[in-house]
Subunit: 108 residues, 2 copies
């Protein structure tokens, strides 16, 4: 089961990635998602990730990072670049990525 | 179908609300979620919202705002306060809310 990320006291950074999956190549997508999920956890500055997707195809993945440089390094990682290219060409009907500075956090 | 929010050029603000639903009082929860969804769209400074939930209970709702003051006003709205109280007491096993400044955005 996916969990709520345990992040440090702010400030830190977040990438909100909202996407619409089409119905193409589900097996390839799921394999790549698993591979990227394992790889992102090894990246310098990675703090955590949360992900949810509705049955209608809209999904939100939020990854947390200790700096903007860490976000840029992950964006430019060669294996991640391959995944992004396939996402643009095959798997996503649309997406928006938003780079944010987390200023406050509170939890139950 | 839920859509990707059409937000203006950054900077603007986001509230990332990640939660774990328990199995309690689904009908009451769904009614309140619909009521809050209608009400939030009427709030000053509201820019849009995106929401997704996995079948295992983890959900992410991101609302977008033009200022921190708009976020505070929505937090303190009387009807929203009632919803938050029921969320803490009945519907959520856990949640984290993160207040963020969106600095960059890109889309497909």
């Amino acid at each position: 089961m996916t969990q709520i990320a345990k992040t440090p006291a702010p400030p830190y950074y977040a990438v909100i990635f909202t996407s619409i999956r089409n119905d193409k190549e589900n097996q390839g997508y799921n394999q790549m998602a698993q591979a990227m999920s394992a790889l992102v956890e090894q990246q310098p500055g990675f703090l955590g990730v949360e992900s949810a997707r509705n049955s209608d195809g809209l999904g939100i993945t939020v990854s947390y990072w200790d700096s903007l440089d860490a976000i840029t390094s992950w964006r430019d990682h060669s294996a991640h670049q391959v995944a992004q290219e396939k996402g643009r060409e095959i798997w996503y009907g649309a997406y928006t990525a938003r780079i944010c500075k987390v200023e406050r956090e509170y939890s139950l």
